[in-house]
């Protein structure tokens, strides 16, 4: 039964027929098309749906629309008036307060309401007002900065000149606002959920309610009869091919064929006219299981007689890595001091603010069109071709604006696959979205790792040997896990020289959602452990924690013990810089009880040296080949085309690089503009559509700036090469004398003599037809050693960083207040310093939360207890520390304009720095993550009791 209500939205009165169970959010989005109001959680816990109702911000997902009758609503779309942005919007754009942009509308609306009632808010007032608006990307630092400065934008559009800008170039090295910032600040950016097509169906997946069992029977007959249901599929309707990430370990069926292995494993899917009908249909599907015993942790899973998840993984060991470089036995004999410790990580989930989604439809010529919120459009493309056994050429992948990934969107999802199959079956577009709980159940978060580490050092702190065993809790499927298990070992020797190094890694299957790749892929927990261990040893032997790192620290142009080629490396400079900037020497050892300061460092790849699948870009009809190590990069990992408009006034950069919030579209635009010699405002990027843009492998392993940047720069230069002869003729000189900048092609020795770039381009078109340039990047061939697994960890370049954390601990409750972070990074020469700092700030807050509060908790049945944003705790703006992010001078010859990565490496130093600071504040080392108040208090009480005895 519908009711008619009047609602004034952004000043316009609407008369709307709504159902009583529709929320205000859904009416705004679906009935009025105001999709700037986002769905992040459905239950008031994220703030993405914030709108202003009669002057006050509210969570529109909890409000019934019928009860808003007669009220006035302001949404993000209403903030721009007469073509002029609200000053808060301008501030967000100019201060880099936007990354993926998914939290942005709610955040800006909340901030607008705040400055309306209080034009000069204090920091505490800003934090109080936005405590319910979660942001996973920015670490809140630049959001605070934007709101503090909002008044500056009341009458101006001038972006600020950032003091961290480099003035070497006009385009690269400049903190220009993001190319997508305007769309994101106004609610115009379209994410997957904001798309819809005519005649579209809604799909939904039925998942297993038991952790382990055999499917005996599925009865879908009742569901099929339900009016409005268009299709129901089960394991028998999906291909016999399995899918996954690493070709050697494809082990997932689109829908379970015989067995379910965790609560959440996909069993059946439906497509129906609307969500309600789809949900009802799921309830009508009857599944009969034969329950099997289940196992939930690696220690039990590897025991003889433990329940086996997959035939092929004996003792549930999915991946086994045994690396031994040098001779650790000998190394320990040479050591003056040895320390051995056990560390346990936590199960962390990426929690991007945007839920995963997919929309599929088939065109008349048999082309599959798939919209997906993915960070790896090409691997998705490849996997769809593989599973469906059709050529890559018959598939078009479209990646709309993506609201964060952090690794959680780095693989093909059941939504992609089921939407495609259901669409084929029904002949209609099918849209599927995850709820927050389904995201947690789909999993692919960080592996919980159980690490035993032993280290030997000389009296002066020089490392002689390192021996490390790691059990990774993998969950029920392989996902990225093979690579995770290798990374967990290969990424420690990046920043320190280990003369002897042994790593035994075991990724173990358990009846829980599969774990995958998350920011820092496999490394943050081992890094946490190693950094703690080094700090422990430094204490044991009375060596300064900075000194022990410098003694063992990596130098440029070094081949590591595991055959990684380190080129540019300013690791030691980052150590010195954080020491100074944090005021370490005035603080360490001089703080009162309950206050602490700590140090952590890290090093990471700047792009994986090898693609996930080997060989050439494949025709899908080729069966995936046996895993054979081909020590060649083989095909270009990043590819760009630049097309100049016929009048010469703009250039369009085509590259399939996945912008997921990290800022790749902006950085690539800058690289391309610099190569072209024109201002970046004249370059547009088209990265969304595989029909339009050539392959880039995607947003993983921190590869896009280096690889995509090179491709974009080269494509730009390729165009310029074509213009130089024209300019040379106009200027009566030779091409070698020319350079281009700011839309002028000028004589190097006499810059006042120049030709207009656009004019040259126009002439080129009139004489030669389309002005197009191409560029690509292939990692250097032959990277890495010759041992099994040597490829994982290879990279064209490595980034380094050091962080100092300052915090206080409430010694009565154990609560940690992380107050300040000082970070210095070697990311090469930054393309966009503001974007770099934004990545660091986001990584620090994510990493700090990971250290003290984040944990996916399971009950005894393997069911997640906290699959929501209210109980899975990510830091709010009230929890985030103040952050200083600095950069050391560095130049990476392999990178575009000297740049390398920042996105993932910046998370590595964080965990160890927090743990060290907690030790400093409490006198106690904590070796199990997360370091919760409860654990701290328990340990403090134990210590007190021991002192009394």
């Amino acid at each position: 039964m519908q009711q008619v209500i009047t609602l004034t939205v952004n000043g316009e009165e609407h008369s709307l027929a709504v159902k009583p169970n529709q929320t205000l959010r859904d009416v705004l989005r679906n009935d009025l098309g105001l999709t700037g109001t986002k769905r992040g959680c459905d239950v008031g816990a994220c703030g993405a749906c914030t709108v202003i109702l009669d002057g006050e911000p509210v969570a529109s997902c909890l409000l019934l629309a019928v009860l808003c009758h007669g009220k006035s609503v302001e949404t993000i779309e209403g903030l721009e008036k007469n073509g002029k942005l609200h000053p808060v919007q301008k501030a967000f754009i100019n201060h880099g307060a936007i990354q993926c942009g998914f939290c942005t509308p709610g955040m800006i609306v909340g901030a607008k309401a705040l400055v309306d009632r209080n034009p000069d808010p204090s920091d505490d007032e800003i934090k109080e007002a936005l405590g319910g608006n979660l942001c996973r990307c920015t670490g809140y630092t630049k959001i605070m900065e934007a709101i503090r400065n909002w008044k500056r934008y009341v009458d101006t559009d001038e972006p600020p000149v950032h003091d961290y800008d480099l003035d070497k170039h006009e385009t690269v090295g400049r903190s220009m606002p993001r190319v997508d910032a305007y769309d994101k600040a106004t609610g115009k950016a379209k994410y997957i959920e904001d798309y819809g097509f005519q005649n579209m169906l809604v799909g939904k997946i039925l998942t297993s309610t038991i952790p382990h069992g055999i499917i005996k029977k599925i009865d879908t007959s009742q569901a099929e009869k339900l009016p409005g249901v268009a299709a129901v599929i089960t394991g028998k309707d999906v291909p016999d091919r399995m899918y996954g990430v690493s070709p050697a370990r494809y082990d997932e069926f689109v829908l379970a064929k015989d067995k379910v292995r965790y609560i959440g494993d996909e069993v059946a899917a439906v497509a129906a006219v609307d969500l309600e009908t789809a949900e009802k249909a799921l309830e009508l599907i009857k599944v009969t299981y034969k329950q099997l015993p289940a196992v939930f942790n690696p220690a039990d899973a590897v025991k003889n007689g433990a329940p086996q998840l997959h035939e092929r993984y004996k003792n549930n060991i999915n991946t086994r890595v045994n690396h031994h470089f040098g001779n650790v036995e000998q190394g320990f004999l040479e050591a003056d001091h040895i320390r051995e410790e056990v560390f346990v990580g936590n199960h962390v989930y990426q929690s991007p603010m945007e839920p995963h989604g997919a929309i599929a439809y088939w065109e008349g010529d048999g082309t599959l069109v798939l919209y997906s919120s993915t960070q790896v459009p090409h691997y998705l493309h490849y996997m769809m071709a593989n599973v469906l056994d059709i050529p890559l050429g018959s598939i078009r992948i479209i990646r709309p604006t993506v609201g964060g990934g952090f690794g959680g969107k780095a693989e093909t999802t059941p939504l992609d696959l089921c939407a495609t199959i259901l669409s084929k079956k029904t002949g209609r577009p099918v849209k599927m979205m995850y709820t927050r709980k389904e995201m947690f159940q789909h999993g692919r978060g960080r592996h919980k790792q159980y690490m035993k580490m032993k280290i030997g050092v000389k009296n002066d702190g020089q490392i002689t040997a390192f021996d490390y065993t790691n059990y990774l809790d993998g969950g029920a499927y392989s996902s990225f896990g093979v690579i995770t298990a290798y990374y967990a070992g290969s990424m420690l020797p990046t920043s320190y020289r280990f003369p002897n190094y042994k790593y035994d890694g075991y990724r173990v299957m358990t009846n829980k959602p599969a774990c995958g790749a998350m920011r820092g892929h496999g490394v943050p927990q081992p890094r946490f452990a190693l950094e703690c261990l080094l700090n422990m040893l430094a204490e044991d032997i009375g060596v300064d924690p900075f000194e022990i790192r410098k003694i063992n620290g990596m130098d440029p142009d070094t081949r590591t013990i595991n055959d990684l080629d380190i080129r540019s490396c300013e690791f030691k400079a980052t150590i010195d810089a954080v020491r100074k900037a944090s005021g370490w020497d005035e603080k360490y050892g001089k703080l009162p009880p309950g206050k602490g300061i700590g140090l952590g460092t890290g090093g990471f790849v700047s792009g994986a040296g090898y693609a996930i699948y080997r060989g050439q870009v494949q025709q899908a009809s080729q069966k995936p080949r046996e895993h054979t190590f081909i020590k060649k990069a083989v095909f270009p990992h990043a590819n760009a085309v630049v097309k100049v408009t016929e009048d010469g006034t703009a250039a369009v950069l085509f590259i399939g690089a996945a912008e997921i919030g990290q800022g790749s579209s902006t950085v690539l635009t800058q690289c391309c503009a610099e190569g072209l010699g024109i201002h970046p405002s004249r370059v547009r990027i088209r990265a969304e559509d595989s029909d339009i843009s050539p392959i880039d492998l995607g947003a993983y392993s921190s590869r896009v700036t280096l690889m995509g940047g090179n491709a974009s720069m080269r494509a730009g230069k390729d165009v310029l090469e074509k213009l130089l002869p024209i300019a040379a003729e106009m200027l009566n000189t030779v091409t070698g004398e020319l350079e281009a900048k700011s839309g002028r092609i000028y004589v190097k020795s006499d810059p006042e003599k120049y030709a207009d770039w656009a004019e040259c381009a126009r002439i080129y078109f009139n004489n030669n037809g389309p002005l197009v340039g191409t560029g690509w990047y292939k990692p250097p061939e032959g990277l890495g050693g010759d041992y099994k697994g040597a490829a994982v960890g290879t990279s064209p370049a490595y980034s380094f960083g050091s962080s100092v954390c300052e915090l206080s601990v409430d010694l009565e409750t154990g609560k940690v207040d992380i107050q300040k972070f000082t970070d210095y990074h070697d990311c090469g020469t930054p393309i966009n310093p503001m974007a770099v700092h934004g990545q660091v700030e986001g990584a620090i807050v994510m990493g700090a939360g990971e250290t003290i509060m984040e944990d996916v908790v399971y009950n005894s049945r393997g069911e997640i207890v906290n699959p929501n944003l209210h109980e899975y705790l990510i830091m709010t703006i009230k929890d985030a520390p103040e952050i200083f992010s600095g950069l050391v001078d560095s130049y990476e010859p392999e990178g575009p304009y000297g740049a390398k990565e920042i996105g993932e490496g910046s998370s590595l130093p964080v965990l160890g720095a927090v743990a060290h600071a907690i030790k400093n504040a409490t006198g106690i080392w904590f070796t199990e993550l997360p370091i919760t108040p409860e654990k701290i208090l328990k340990a403090l009480k134990k210590k007190k009791a021991a002192v009394k005895e």
């Binding site: 909340g110 405590g131 319910g132 709820t435």
Partner: protein, 295 residues
């Protein structure tokens, strides 16, 4: 897309009489809807099942905050933010402002009502402890008239109250606070915003000639219902405030708590927290009673 709500019918009675009659008629199929920050979540997550919602939004004065003789009357429909911003409340019972501000987040507090916070009877709710130590009563309007219940007697278990079918919680009546008294609320949560209490402790002390004349301590999130720690309060009578005294009372309060272990904390940890919060709440309450600003 996302979570859906079941098919429901919404009723918007314009007065209490109509509301009570409706509720009586619909029985178990209906629930009162206030801000919806608890109920809509439960409906979406399929923890609650009803087909009728009776909204109180159209009822005149249901959200009114006013003086009632010497007492303060807060309408059940007043939101946490409105209460926190009300200058009468700030003078009358400043600790209630603290409790309101400790809840959820700003945009939730614009919806969340005091009536919903009480009537939902969730053990971790932030407003009951301070209201209990302030001797508040709730007024219940049923089909056959009004009654008042002391808030400490209102809760019967987790999500269970003294309300009878057809009754509506209309307002909360806070009597004039004794002279030279001070109150406080201390909440401990695992995150600084949008986090439910691991434990919450409210305290009120009345001072006389430098001694504590009378005290009340209420505990939240550490028993099936918000709970008065009567023995702890008794231990403070006629005593001179001191850290030792508060520690002694806190230790007794711990014994009066009956926490469970859940995702927010083990029973043991909650006891530790109750001890700390009780002492801190007492210290603050005394400071307020003495007219000192809190630190």
């Amino acid at each position: 897309m996302g979570l859906t709500l079941p098919e429901i019918e919404i009723h918007e009675p314009e007065n209490l009489k109509e509301a009570c009659a409706l509720l009586k008629k619909l029985g178990r199929n209906a629930r009162i809807l206030a801000g919806g920050t608890d109920l809509i979540v439960d409906l979406k997550e399929k923890r609650a099942k009803v087909s009728h919602l009776v909204s109180l939004a159209e009822i005149v004065d249901i959200d009114r905050i006013k003086k009632d003789g010497k007492a303060l009357s807060i309408g059940a429909g007043a939101t946490a933010n409105r209460i926190a911003a009300n200058s009468m409340v700030a003078r009358f019972l400043p600790a209630l402002v603290d409790a309101c501000n400790s809840m959820a987040s700003y945009h939730i507090r614009n919806l969340a009502t005091i009536g919903g916070n009480i009537a939902s009877a969730v053990p971790s709710a932030d407003l009951p402890p301070i209201l209990i130590v302030a001797d508040a009563k709730v007024e219940l309007q049923g089909p056959r008239g009004k009654r008042k219940v002391k808030l400490e007697n209102f809760f019967k278990g987790p999500r269970r109250t003294d309300m009878k079918p057809g009754e509506v919680l209309t307002r909360i009546i806070i009597p004039a606070q004794p002279k030279k008294s001070g109150s406080s609320y201390h909440k401990f949560a695992l995150r600084n915003a949008t986090a439910l209490a691991v434990a919450g402790v409210a305290a009120r002390v009345e001072m006389e000639k430098g001694l504590i004349k009378k005290a009340a301590i209420a505990l939240g999130a550490v028993a099936p219902t918000p709970k008065l720690a009567k023995r702890a309060a008794a231990a403070l009578r006629k005593k001179k405030p001191s850290r030792e005294l508060f520690e002694k009372a806190a230790a007794i309060a711990v014994r009066e708590s009956k926490p469970i272990s859940d995702i927010r904390g083990s029973a043991e940890y909650r006891r530790d927290i109750v001890e700390v919060l009780t002492r801190r709440a007492l210290e603050d309450a005394v400071a307020r009673a003495r007219g000192k600003k809190r630190k």
